[in-house]
Point group: C2
Chain length 238, copies 2
DNA sequence: TTGGCATGAATTGCATGCAGAGCACCAAAA
DNA sequence: TTTTGGTGCTCTGCATGCAATTCATGCCAA
């Protein structure tokens, strides 16, 4: 028998970059997914750049194994492009891909809005109304960043109210790429005003439990957002 | 002594001009995804069973590393349920999950049909017509298995004709779970006849490039299939 | 008996080693 | 000069080893 009890704590090695501090007990691969997604969305890892496993794992303070798992999951999300025996690339977001992306989001949100109109509870309607009011306040104040956050919450809440897990997961999977597009082209005051008005109409349709109307309005809203973004991207490129 | 260093892995079989398209030589993790998916769909790995990494990796003849990557991907597809620090489980398919699943598939296929009605080429329409004829022949002959295969091909082709990668990927992701439900409840002659008729109507709407009609018909068709399957599952459980 | 805690086996999660694929660079031939 | 073949290096893909976690068992006390 070993008289010396080994110390229970794992030998922590010094972590160079940000050590994923104080996160809930999830695995490193899961944290890596989130951190990498954030880095890609905000552009710290620019589109087209190679993701060399040894470099990235060192930068994240983890080993290659969980990193590889994370890269595979990000590839499913379309944020990363895997190549056999080659370094993965941060996926490029081409204009036609943005078109398809917003077509798909519109399709999913339309269906979600139709279901939500049938299934949403009064409490959820109330929460939507409060979010809408808050969002309009940010709009009035010209606060873009919080506006976007609220806007995103509202869309997510409507999808959640559809009570359909596959639809919600598909929606979440597309969200990061849409966010990339939004960040690249967040301009046009006119579109902003229009968007707020469209949100009002959607909310009213949900209150009226008008499934077809809510679906159509939301799909159109997403479609308009998409075309506006593509226009913005085109301006950006020029 | 052995002067010739032998490779540690499997002996490479001599490959003579094997078309890479048919044998893409992908990584072990990718192959593991397909093999596990097939094993789960046909029920060799029954719902609720624990997937112990060491056992599974030995059974598949691979190590735990690619197996773990495969399990993570199957979890995204909803075929496997991951639990922190516990063995993954083959996901159970509860009746309400089947309902949601077919709601989601109907939503995606409706959107796909609407887009396909606008974008489908004459050649694709022709191919659809031939597939439909072949499927009807199997129906007339009472050949269930090839009928199902053709049926799937038709649905996949319609989605492909929408020219929308995210929609197609979402559709594919849901396919395996739907297949599980189908295999559990493939009965009801009456529903079979009805389904063939519905396919005819969908095809006609596509020919007429009636986007709304094609979308509605296809969504209803998938919805009917879902309710029939749930009824079948209920019979099965009883 | 029963509740609580320690202990050990089983298994996951992560790190790391190693072989091979792919690429760059260079030399030699055309 | 262009092309072809070789050579070395880098990086991926996979296997394996080790620590940490979880669960089951058993012991002790109430």
């Amino acid at each position: 028998m070993d008289p010396v009890r080994r110390p229970r704590g794992r030998p922590r090695k010094p972590v160079l970059l940000e050590p994923a501090a104080l996160s809930p007990r999830r695995g490193l691969h899961d944290q890596a997914v989130e951190r990498l997604r954030a880095l890609i969305v905000v552009g710290t890892l620019p589109a087209g750049s190679a993701l060399v496993e040894t470099e990235l794992s060192a930068a994240l303070g983890i080993s290659r194994t969980p990193l590889r798992e994370a890269l595979k999951l990000l590839a499913v999300e379309g944020l990363v492009e895997l190549r056999p025996n080659r370094s993965p690339l941060v996926a490029e977001l081409r204009p036609d891909a943005v078109t398809e992306l917003f077509e798909a989001i519109a399709a999913i949100e339309r269906a979600a809005a139709e279901l939500a109109a049938l299934r949403i509870t009064p409490a959820e309607l109330d929460r939507l109304r409060r979010l809408q009011a808050e969002m309009e306040a940010h709009h009035a104040a010209g606060a873009l960043a919080p506006y976007f956050a609220l806007n995103q919450q509202i869309h997510a809440l409507i999808v959640a109210c559809a009570r359909n897990a596959p639809l919600r997961e598909a929606h979440e999977a597309l969200h990061a790429r849409a966010e990339i597009a939004r960040r690249r082209a967040l301009d046009s005051r006119a579109r902003w005003d229009e968007s707020v008005a469209e949100h009002r109409a959607i909310l009213e349709a949900l209150y009226a439990r008008d499934a077809a109307g809510a679906g159509r309005l939301l799909a159109d809203h997403v479609g308009h957002t998409g075309t506006a973004l593509i226009a913005g991207l085109a301006r950006h490129a020029a």
